[in-house]
Symmetry: D2
Subunit: 317 residues, 4 copies
């Protein structure tokens, strides 16, 4: 088996799949699946329950819910409303049901100027912001007896700010004392099939290495002082990932295909380390820092950002 | 004399002029003027030296330098370079010359989505950001022995964030500990003649009531903990200001013009309070929250934002 | 009566009101009004039926429908849906009901970079564009038996293109041969009360002098070769208009008010021409090319652009 | 030799290199190279002189100049000025030196909303537009005796307009009758090494299959009626290209490497068609319509667009 050295995915689901494909049992990790046939939405919950599981998975202990909705990439307004409602329900699981007046800070991570990384900023653009109104006029100004205080920030990326995103968020949290952060970010998937049709919700915050631009340190309860729920949508695949995957396929084909007369036999003489070296040499160093994304990413990101902001607007209405 | 009740200006120079036009001596305020004929730039320095002067002027104690450069509204690249250099020199006055490694946070105030209020965000877009590079690779990474650390943030306006801008800045300052803040903002002038051809630099920070959207509490050394230099360019006039000014002109004409046979005589029977009430009634309440700006504001704001970011890039190179 | 020399309005309704306020009967112009109490929408139809009426009104022969919906400036999604439906109905009046396969070119007039002038471009951004799909795959690709072909262009303004907008549109029409043009534009109103809460639909196209930037020659059936329906929303008031109006109020007050002892009497010695000159001198020449707009224009324009694009998407679905 | 079935490049230089790497002599194609050591700019001129050469190359007869300037991807203002000047010189070669009053239409191709495809629109944003001024005030208004008329359009992409770009351009050309078109577009390269550091200038216009989004028919003298000079910068690589290239490398390694004991021998039993099928099967169909681009594409595209618009502004000053 080739070492999957360069593979990066921000989806716990994909990380789990890798072990499954290798028939490796991961201790401390529980998987649940369900399928909503009517809406064609597949829900997968990955619970990393122990530190050992966390270490194996390379992701912190916590719950990761993945909604796979193939039609999310399609401009069907009614369908997007359904997805918004589902997303709202899953977010509710991470909130305290009895709390009537959440103060929530929504953080739109990513770079507004790079289309597949603009998901977070776009979500922030369409939120119903209420904190300043309630602060100024009291909660009755909202015409409701119980209101949540929604605030939002688009911190920008390090090349724009010169600061770690966590520095900005931590500072803002100390000053404005929200109860909870919801951080929205564009993710990198392993599989191009999942792009723009998958939403991951996690109660673990944002961790180093995740996100398109990978431009931040951890944004978690430990680093910012309040719980952080992360909403992510994979919009890119690392260029090296795509190349690596295809090469693994080629080598697997060489090893196993009956039609490839004889090659397989010879390849079996190589051990994993040798194959690893072979692939590594062939991947161009120019692919570092490059990502793969669809040509219609502008429409897709705009559409999905609405779906997410609608879910948040319903949740905190 | 009509009470100038509704007049708002963010320019200390204009505030001073008002008193002059009324022949009122303002104690504790010193004015210096110079004119660079070659470059056609008029420099006015208003120093508010005492608390009494501050009270009269409605602006805090400090130094306000105004550069009036009529050609700034024109697309002449060479001229803009000259203005950048002048601006850099005036900013240097507010810095410690012997300090070799300033850590400066540039704050781009205002609303990127409202053209005349986008000056601050646009300036931030074109800065050479270095703090993260120096932090990661050391100052020698910059190829210089002495380097300044430049960071930047575009906090957004309250309707977008639900937070006071000062809350965001104070938090960021506590986390990243800059030596100084430079806050760039679009201002409201009293006179439409000054729009887009005037830059005010002040060592007093940003104070309530200033700025196009007027969307923030004070951002000053007292509120954020480090000195705040403010760079402002008037890009709008309050709608009520323009109406008020013209009506004052009308009443003055009625009072003084010889050609207006007899009218003036009668008006003199009114005292200031009566005239004030007359004007106040006639200004439409619909003008509140409205501003006046030129139709080519998009090009002007873009051009001036470059001039300012170039000055900052030279200053901290 | 003071000559209303500098007053500009793009709303036929306001033009009509001016004559009414002066008790002038306008021949060849018919006015109809209705009020939808439930939705709080006032509908006014101005029909200019003769060339004489057109000359008096300063607008071409045709039908101008104005929807005044005060809540349009407010973020109420349900209400905006109602307005979209109403707008769709009025647009239908201008279309041939029996035609099943309209080829329509939507033109988003104005300047994307100047917020109150960005209405047209924003509407274009959210249209369901279908022409290229039908052209490539046939109308069954749309899953419907009868489909309209929707195309769209955002021509930009003359300062950006160096071309008259009508040159661009005429060229595109000749090449792509739409049946009809729908031109969306931001307008100038006379009254600040009407800003962002009024939609005008006219079958007369776009005529010189209308629009925020006033950046184009006529775009009408005569100039581009196909019928042009114009949808406009007033987002600005000319600065000179606001000043002029308030000064007229002042002079009227001086002339009539009983509390203004004696002044009125004297003013009556002036004829209209003299008063006209007085006002004209007092309006600053710096106000030319300046407009008045509300500070929250970014949110309002975004919201109303959705309302209009939804109406168009429903109409041509 | 594996058939290079899916490889797409918009650079004539790269097309030529492919044949060279296969030791294929291309008749009717002449290559010239020069290297400016001081500026580190490599200039390659590919002249396709015959229809046969055109057929082999898959590109029309004409001259393709490629400037490779590795530092173009770096934020060095002085260097970009040098590149602007070089670019201006090469553009001059395609113009009539004795013509004093060019009427030029600059077309900013691509999609402003997808970062690597926004090059053309960004270039248009920073041009000195003069046509409307000269038309209105005469050429002396520009303060010069001889002036060029510069106009510009950003037509948008088919998903936004529903029209082929060539339809829009042809229409605009007929109405405004420019002497020449300069079309600026983002390109797809074969090699990720060339991204954002290469400029191609060609007198052949824009041809089907070129550009990031590949969203248009030919824009050439034949289709629009005036000569079309194309300026292109590769900002993306097709995802399938990157995968294909690496797999070719793998198969080549398997065939030739001495360290890969024995595999090569067996692979040699496969003919080109069989290898072609093997690779084709392994490339994921999900990669169609996907591109690879660097994470800092926002800064790079902005910087290079300035370099190009400066060259055009100097050329037509």
């Amino acid at each position: 088996m080739i070492e999957k050295y360069s593979i990066r995915t921000d989806l716990a689901l994909e990380q789990k799949e890798r072990f499954e494909s290798d028939n490796v049992e991961v201790q401390g990790v529980v998987l649940e699946e369900s399928y909503d046939e009517e809406r064609e939405i597949r829900i997968t919950t990955v619970k990393i329950e122990t530190e050992k599981g966390a270490k194996t998975m390379g992701k912190p202990v916590g719950t990761y819910i993945t909604m796979e909705a193939p039609n999310m990439a399609v401009p069907d307004e009614g369908y997007h409303e359904e997805v918004s409602k589902e997303l709202m329900k899953f977010l509710q699981r991470f909130l305290d049901k009895d709390k009537k007046d959440y103060s929530v800070l929504v953080v739109g991570l990513g770079n507004r100027m790079v289309t597949p990384d603009a998901l977070g900023p776009y979500v922030a653009d369409n939120l119903n912001i209420t904190r300043h109104i309630v602060k100024e006029y009291g909660k009755y100004a909202m015409g409701e007896e119980e209101v949540h205080l929604v605030s939002s920030i688009v911190p920008g990326v390090m090349a724009q700010t010169g600061m770690e995103t966590v520095e900005i968020i931590r500072g803002v949290v100390k000053e404005t004392e929200p109860d909870i952060i919801i951080a929205v970010d564009a993710l990198a998937a392993r599989s191009s099939k999942r792009l723009n049709r998958t939403i991951q919700i996690a109660d673990t915050g944002i961790n180093p290495g995740s996100g398109v631009g990978n431009h931040r340190n951890a944004i978690t309860e430990e680093t910012v002082g309040v719980p952080v729920i992360a909403i992510g949508v994979p919009t890119v695949v690392d260029a090296a990932t795509i190349v690596n995957d295809t090469m693994e396929n080629l080598i697997a084909a060489l090893e196993t295909s009956e039609t490839l007369r004889g090659v397989g036999v010879v390849m079996q003489g190589y051990n994993a380390a040798e194959k690893y070296e072979l692939v590594k040499e062939l991947i161009s160093p120019h692919l570092n820092g490059m990502f793969v994304t669809p040509k219609d990413i502008d429409e897709t990101v705009k559409r999905i950002s609405f779906t997410i902001s609608e879910a948040l607007n319903m949740l905190f209405a």
